[in-house]
Amino acid sequence: MNNQPATRNTAKPVARFDITQRLVAKLHHDEAVIGGIGHTNFDLWAAGRRPQNFYMLGSMGLAIPIALGVAIAQPQRRVIALEGDGSLLMMLGCLTTIGARQPENLIIVVMDNGTYEITGGQPTASSQGADLAAIARGAGIANSAWAADETHFETLVDQALATPGPHLIAARLTQAKPAGQTERDPAQIRDRFMRGLGTKG
């Protein structure tokens, strides 16, 4: 494993809530986090409210574009997009925009459980051969890697937080229910996020 980069097939399935908690625990510089719809942002919510977290409600596939917008507006802040495999498959083109622009402060974390879990577990293409880290590399995001296990996920997060991006970290997930459910108050979510980013007093 140390000599060969992990692939989706060799990556150990990890628990989404566990790695979300591990990620959030490493955020010490008010990094912004955009949680894509569904279980991805439910677990971000359950991992502890931060004013720098933005929880999407709808607009499936836009976690990475929203994160890119924040990253352009605030180049001194690191911005993390948490996106599910189904959502990313809906907006694959955005990886080519990231590849073309090379935003140094952007980190993408793909939560790949191979299913549209929230709608009944229908299989996504990522469980049938589509390798999202390989697609990201092909789109021009050279630093795209599968997390081999939980410890390796933490190593990749450390590297992404310490070196210029863009970075993409793909995690293969176990099937698991989310640990909570996001409050559905969009105006309040946006207002808190802007205060967390210092753009509203």
């Binding site: 912004a32 955009i34 933005f54 999407m56 409600l57 709808g58 607009s59 499936m60 596939g61 836009l62 990475i64 574009p65 929203i66 994160a67 890119l68 917008g69 924040v70 990253a71 352009i72 507006a73 605030q74 802040r77 907006m91 083109g93 955005c94 080519t96 925009t97 073309a100 622009r101 969009p186 105006a187 979510i189 946006r190 996020f193 802007m194 980013l197 210092g198 753009t199």
Partner: protein, 172 residues
């Protein structure tokens, strides 16, 4: 003072309102505006793969403290109902849309003519303020007031560039 063209006036009015980010999906009618914006280092402008992506970028930029305008043509607007109704409207984010109107006043493509008819009903149904620019002498006022209102009310807004203004070529 800006050159007295629709694109010169819009370029200057965007700058006057600190609109710096321009994610767009290319369109031939918008080309003179896109070229102006690319030539001006004040702006950050780039092509996106879909209009939805550009709306997401503009929404994120607003929350991060940077104003944006999304450029597209009519058929691109038709892909946006879901994201408009689930991101800028409910989250109260003043995403500014600038749409060049195809499908009317000399259109040659029936598909464009049909899709254009969906635009204003969609905008009205989700209560997005919109204005159609037809006259050069009204461009500055309408763009200026539309941006002011969008920001003040924290709601998206849409400006539609009519062929009456842009003089889009007709099929011969």
């Amino acid at each position: 003072m800006s050159e007295n063209t629709w694109h010169g006036i819009i370029h200057a009015t965007l700058k006057a309102h600190d609109v710096k980010l321009v994610p767009y999906v290319p369109d031939n009618v918008l080309r003179p505006l896109i070229e102006r914006i690319h030539a001006d280092p004040y702006f950050t402008a780039f092509a996106c793969t879909r209009e939805e992506e550009a709306v997401g970028i503009a929404a994120g930029a607003w929350m991060g403290g940077m104003r944006a305008v999304v450029l597209m043509q009519t058929s691109g607007f038709a892909t946006l109902a879901n994201v408009l109704a689930s991101l800028p409207v409910p989250f109260q984010i003043p995403v500014l849309l600038l749409v060049s109107e195809r499908g009317t006043l000399g259109e040659f493509n029936i598909g464009q003519a049909l899709v254009a008819r969906t635009m204003r009903p969609v905008l009205d149904s989700i209560a997005i303020e919109h204005h159609t620019l037809t006259r050069l002498d009204e461009v500055e006022f309408t763009v200026d007031r539309t941006i002011r209102q969008a920001v003040a009310t924290q709601q998206p807004a849409c400006l539609i560039l009519s062929p009456l203004l842009t003089g889009r070529k007709v099929f011969k």
